[in-house]
Symmetry: C2
Subunit: 140 residues, 2 copies
DNA sequence: CGCCGATCGTCTGCTGTCAAACGATCTGGC
DNA sequence: GCCAGATCGTTTGACAGCAGACGATCGGCG
């Protein structure tokens, strides 16, 4: 049974595979380090940044499926971190609004971000991280 | 409903999210462009490179769960692309071996790789792709 | 006004992935 | 030789993600 350490060779020649495996490794580490849930964290962060939004806009901007967004919003509402007011201008849509409790939860979650970014990207210097971020930005 | 184009800002500040979203976009494009299936393709490629392997070794090196590898190997065997001989030195394990038909299928699949790599990483120059590959290699 | 297509939130079913458990087999200590 | 623990392949169950369908509502057009 040859333990030939084949993976590095594969990763060097197939950037798509390297990207996919690196992503799942990082995602697993990040999800484990977040008690809020990554999706909920991002929703709170966006609401705090741009104000009340419909679930549709949240889903599109955060690249989350809108049927998944339903569950995320349910959890946040149940926890008291957001309110779901109806948008008076379009009664189909909600105006999802962050509450003071939601801002506190966001601040708490945001405090842990640099820590788990360090564990996930620990092998990279700050300059390399910036390079990676720039390259990924071009891809999207 | 503010369509604030929030995502780029998020991606710039959270490399983990950028990595995850870029990965799923690339993965979807690659999976769609591969008629063999990405997992099966990688298994054939590794078998051709290092010779017969147990499913366990294949799973570990390719970062695929071994219970998923069962299905991949089933499909490849049914298509006649691999044989599952028992390893005489360890009768628990298979010696998964690529067949001539498997080599032909691999060659055919390998022909399409540069094409879909171009569509998936089209926004990046060759130098940028090399940079990305190097950075991902450090992460793994 | 009345109708038709589009959109928002939700629900349902399907697919792919993973953890855990199992039988068969190997390995090491007695 | 024999037994306990580990390993290989497989199956099962749980769970997240996504496509598609649905009711409610909006917008436009006659």
């Amino acid at each position: 049974m040859p333990r030939n350490d084949y993976f590095p060779r594969l990763a060097a020649e197939r950037p798509d595979i390297a990207l996919c495996r690196a992503s799942s490794a990082v995602a697993k580490a990040v999800e484990a380090a977040s008690d809020l849930g990554v999706g909920a964290h991002l929703v709170l962060k966006m609401l705090a940044a741009v104000g009340p939004c419909s679930q549709q806009v949240l889903a599109e901007e955060l690249r989350i499926d809108r049927s998944v967004m339903v569950g995320v919003a349910d959890g946040l509402e149940r926890a008291g971190h957001v309110r779901r007011d109806r948008d008076p201008a379009d009664r189909r849509a909600y105006a999802v609004t962050i509450t003071p409790a939601g801002r506190r939860a966001l601040a708490r979650a945001e405090k842990g971000v640099p820590s788990f970014l360090d564990t996930a990207f620990g092998g990279l210097t700050a300059a390399e991280r910036a390079q990676l971020t720039a390259l990924l930005g071009k891809l999207l």
